[in-house]
Symmetry: C2
Subunit: 287 residues, 2 copies
């Protein structure tokens, strides 16, 4: 049960827009304030009635909110934070939805602490290859894992407020350090994104007409390669040290598989695929 009085959402994309829709449903008493840079997105938000207050002036949107959620690309979070930091209500807590945590928490936790506010890093695992407010859905967060990444400095009361908020939206909560988050997410999210792009180029680069033969296997395996290149360039570079290690591992595994198939080693191939099948069974089903 979350008792936030007023939520300010910065960045009205898929995640920010879905947040607004979800808050309307599960916390109908909570005021919704939205900031976006582009007037077009703000028009959609007003037309769909997603917010109680909207503005392209970040300082106006921040004023009075009890919970601030940064839902912009991670590369923009610092500049937005510097704009709003002296306009926050005394009890305001700040969180985000960014897919890297070490750099974001490392920067924003001390920044907000300098003004007497808590920043608690969050990462709801609820992205999509579709971007933008047009794809927003009230149930985007339902059943999704949400990773909260407090540090030794974070106030436990504020961590609980942020957790309560995500729980109210239907998320399955996980708590870990920003470092552990970046290590795990490099493997569970950034790795499949990067590899999907490589599979599309290897699969279709020489003969794009093969696309017409696609079954659900190729469709599902490469769905994430349809994601926004700008957004993913930022994410992969921001977490590059972990992503590089994970990609080195996938190259090693693929080379081993290649060697097994080349030497027609029936038994080793069956073991390789069976081990992957066993690990894959650990993944919880989707909502």
């Amino acid at each position: 049960m979350s008792n936030e009085r007023s939520i300010a959402i910065f960045g009205p994309g898929l995640l920010g827009g879905s947040l607004a829709l979800a808050v309307r449903v599960v916390m109908p008493q909570c005021e919704i304030r939205i900031w976006g840079r582009r007037e077009e997105a703000m028009t959609i938000i007003r037309e769909r009635g997603l917010a109680d207050f909207t503005s392209t002036d970040a300082r106006l949107v921040a004023a009075g909110a009890s919970l601030v959620v940064l839902a912009t690309p991670v590369t923009v979070m610092e500049s937005v934070s510097r704009l709003i930091i002296d306009r926050l209500a005394p009890d305001a807590v700040v969180t985000d939805v960014g897919s890297v945590k070490r750099s974001v928490v490392g920067l924003l936790e001390p920044l907000f602490a300098s003004a007497g506010h808590s920043f608690v890093g969050s990462h709801p695992m609820a992205g999509s290859d579709k971007a933008g407010i047009e794809a927003a859905r009230a149930d985007l967060f339902k059943g999704a894992a949400c990773i909260v990444t407090p540090t030794a400095q974070t106030s436990l009361v504020d961590v609980d407020r942020v957790k309560c908020f995500w729980e109210a939206l239907g998320c399955r909560l996980l708590t870990m350090s920003p470092d552990e988050h970046d290590r795990k997410i490099a493997r569970i999210s950034h790795l499949p994104h990067a590899v999907a792009a490589a599979v599309v180029l290897a699969g279709l680069g020489k003969d794009p007409s093969a696309a017409h033969c696609s079954g659900n296997g190729f469709r599902d395996s490469t769905r994430v390669a349809g994601g926004d290149p700008d957004l993913w360039t930022g994410i992969l570079l921001e977490n590059r040290s972990e992503v590089v290690t994970a990609l080195e591992d996938v190259v090693a595994q693929t080379k081993e598989l290649l060697a097994i198939i080349s030497r027609q080693d029936n038994e080793a191939l069956r073991r390789f695929l069976a081990e992957a099948q066993k690990l894959r069974a650990l993944v919880p089903p989707g909502a």
Copy 2:
């Protein structure tokens, strides 16, 4: 519009079972005959009323059918074919659902020709990570691509009969040589299967607890790694020369990506991801 009098399905797994369900719906006048090795599967088929005639004796099931569909693993097709070849009706045409075509067509076309029958290779792109008759669905083939692979020797009339049959089931037909099929399918189906296994091992091998952080990205990208290891060992080895070339390409692409991320080349990374996004957009949406 398909006018088959009687269809004999060999192998009551996901594909064979779904075939029976679909034929009942779209060709209600057509007799359905099913052969399976295991009595348990045959019991399910009788209980669900999927067939007009069932037996574990392949010769009895083949008798009188106008269309024979081999839906066993590719490694078993030859032995089943040898069992039934002298029991086929004079007008019988034989096809299959195997995911490799060069070896299957190369073996079975001359075999059936020696007894005066046509073998026309087919590959409906309608697999799933779920296997077995329990997962069978009447609409499995609806909207799926189905690749038919005639050779210079195949009778055009018989190719048309096989095409009409798949069209009646709702498939989108593609026609190409067995060689072209194996080349394209290595990239569009066998490659993502092999890579999904490598991604699971690289993603979860060192830290299986990361599975709990999974979002839809990892879930979809690795779904096919949940497939049956025995089945996929057979498929990957049967098409190994094409699969090895495709895997070499994916290793090269992944290494390039690795180099780009290591040297923090923002512009090259954006181009790499944008090129993949553009090619991915060629894939027709699922049914």
